[in-house]
């Protein structure tokens, strides 16, 4: 299906289908709304475009998923961060899960029947992800997992987890598993964040038994798996997020009484720049190019633009963040994390210096 045709049919369908969220902004309500939106989009077929038939998809280019996410974000139908999680989870399953497992599980994710999470970061392994220590030890045909994860988005709602474990020393000693979250020995404790939403959780693994057939790839493939999902995060997910940020700039234009064209123009220019950059990245991906360290530039541009936009909102809506209970407060606070999650701005600059500018080791 052609992109333009897909977009216009989708817009027509969305115009005739009421998927707008209710007045409840709690995380429970957001996750329920996400499931509702996914279900409706899946049943109508939209959610299945851009995914292969092997996992219940209807085929077509991956860019259709970016178009769908943009239309969802533009209408504020689902919170864009949690909406985009399938973009890293499903491709991982396609690339690394045994085909029958992917065929069985991925439709549950796409259709909103299940939420999944990603167990990567640990208390001792943030920027230095490769130092992770959650152990997986073989026992017969099974593996026994012990350790702790943190910053695991939506763990308390999740039925499954893509989990990175240590099976040997070094980068080549990281192994990924697809774990059922109701397995005995798993404890989830939501984390209270500064923006007041319990989106992230700590997850404890205490002698958790995982069947060998739930390994993703081979022993030692975990680091490659983690690196392989970056191109998806940095193409489709970014496009969704940029679409969401444009809606917030529009909202700011509607609400501000302060006439500061320099600030509005600068916020717009930063957003326009990352949209243009992301557009070239999408095109390269569509042409079959392999995305690499140059997507760190997209990441820095996006995080910078996001913080600049919300800084501008705070400046041009004086007192609103501080004195009134509106979504601006939580969204402003969340934007502080934009230069931290998914690889900090400093890690991105290290990658740019080393890999793109060829400055050698630091």
């Amino acid at each position: 299906m052609k992109v333009a045709e897909f977009r216009s049919s989708l817009r027509e369908w969305l115009a005739g289908t009421d998927l707008s969220p209710g007045p409840d902004h709690s995380l429970d309500a957001q996750v329920a709304q996400l499931a509702r939106v996914r279900r409706a989009l899946y049943d109508a077929g939209w959610m299945r475009y851009g995914w292969p038939a092997a996992v219940g998809g209807l085929g077509g280019p991956a860019v259709l998923r970016a178009v769908l996410g943009e239309e969802v974000a533009t209408r504020d139908l689902a919170e864009p961060g949690i909406y985009s999680m399938v973009e890293v989870l499903a491709p991982t399953m396609l690339a690394y899960a045994p085909p029958q497992l992917a065929a069985q599980m991925v439709p549950r994710l796409l259709s909103g029947r299940e939420q999944w999470c990603q167990g990567f970061s640990e208390p001792g392994s943030g920027s230095d992800l490769a130092s992770l220590t959650t152990r997986a030890v073989p026992r017969g045909d099974d593996w026994v997992v012990t350790g702790q994860k943190v910053w695991t988005s939506l763990a308390q709602y999740s039925a499954r987890c893509v989990l990175l474990t240590r099976t040997a020393p070094g980068h080549g000693g990281i192994t990924a598993f697809f774990v059922d979250m109701d397995t005995p020995g798993i404890t989830v404790r939501p984390l209270r964040t500064m923006h007041g939403v319990d989106e992230f959780a700590e997850v404890f693994f205490d002698d958790v038994v995982v069947p060998g057939e739930r390994m993703l790839g081979l022993p030692g493939d975990g680091w490659r798996l983690a690196m392989d999902l970056l191109p998806y995060e940095r193409s489709t997910c970014f496009w969704h997020r940029i679409a969401y940020l444009f809606t917030r700039l529009d909202r700011l234009l509607a609400e501000t009484q302060v006439r500061d064209d320099a600030a509005l123009g600068a916020a717009y220019l930063a957003l326009h720049t990352v949209r243009c950059r992301s557009h070239t990245t999408q095109r390269r991906l569509a042409e079959g190019e392999r995305l690499g360290p140059e997507t760190s530039i997209d990441k820095v541009l996006l995080a910078t633009a996001e913080q600049q936009l919300f800084d501008t909102a705070r400046d041009l809506l004086p007192g609103v963040l501080e004195l009134a209970e509106t979504p601006w407060r939580s969204e402003y606070l969340y934007s502080r994390a934009a230069t931290i999650y998914g690889g900090t701005a400093e890690i991105q600059r290290n990658i740019i210096a080393r890999r793109l500018l060829d400055l050698g080791k630091d």
Partner: protein
């Protein structure tokens, strides 16, 4: 034009620009067929020619041709061009020395001018500024790799690395806006992004070059001066950003401009 033809064209242009500059380069490019290239494939000619002017440090009065051509007038002449601060300049084709910040450019202030179509000219200047930025970044990169202090190359210090990484982010971002620019607003934003990127680049590169970058013998100042002067031509980054801000405030929405 396919990729191989484009590479060949770039090589030829680069040779000319390395050999001569100013009126001589103007004449060489005219002989080479610049006029036909601009008329027939402006989408190839403008990024290539102006990007190379930036990278090589050469100059030629070709902006006149881009603006004249967009106005449907004959090329090869001069036209009064808007400059920052609601002023006007003429880019002479004769190459007389100038009192401007970049003394190599034959730019002269004039009292009055007429409105001219600026979108194509802004794109051309955007590519020129991106080329200048890449040249400054290359100079700074070479310096930090070669220069040793405290027994280590400067390139091994994270503070230095991050400045240059920020520079590349700004330049690549600006280039993306130029690749996407087709209409008036897109061209305005691209010129603003490119001007801003060049100023960011000049600041970071000057800093990591240390003392040598402040001397007349090092080439940095030539590129930095040119970036400052070209930023003001057809609207500075600051002015264009304010203009974009006023436009979205009046419309009540920020145009997305590009779609997948």
């Amino acid at each position: 034009m396919d990729a191989a033809e484009r590479d060949l064209l770039a090589e030829t242009l680069r040779k000319s620009m390395t050999a001569v500059s100013g009126p001589e380069l103007d004449a060489a490019l005219t002989d080479f067929g610049w006029g036909d290239l601009l008329a027939e494939s402006p989408e190839v000619a403008i990024p290539l020619v102006f990007g190379l002017l930036g990278e090589t440090g050469a100059h030629a009065p070709l902006l006149n041709d881009v603006v004249l051509s967009a106005a449907g007038r004959a090329i090869g002449a001069t036209v009064v061009l808007p400059y920052a601060g609601r002023s006007w300049v003429v880019w002479e084709r004769t190459g007389e020395p100038s009192v401007g910040l970049d003394g190599e450019l034959p730019l002269r202030s004039v009292a009055v001018g007429e409105p001219v179509p600026v979108a194509a000219g802004r794109r051309a200047l955007g590519w020129w500024l991106v080329g200048l930025s890449r040249a400054m970044l290359a100079l700074a990169r070479q310096h930090v790799v070669d220069r040793v202090q405290f027994g280590r190359p400067l390139a091994s210090f994270q503070a230095v690395r991050h400045r240059l990484a920020e520079t590349l982010v700004a330049v690549e971002g600006a280039e993306a806006t130029l690749l996407a620019a087709s209409d008036d607003l897109g061209s305005l934003l691209a010129k603003a992004a490119a001007g801003q990127a060049a100023l960011t680049t000049a600041r970071h590169c000057q800093q990591v070059l240390g003392g040598i970058g402040f001397t007349a013998e090092h080439d940095l100042h030539r590129y930095a001066r040119r970036a400052l002067v070209l930023d003001g031509l057809l609207g500075s980054a600051r002015e264009l950003t304010v203009e974009a801000g006023a436009l979205i405030r009046q419309r009540g929405t920020a145009p997305r401009l590009i779609e997948l």
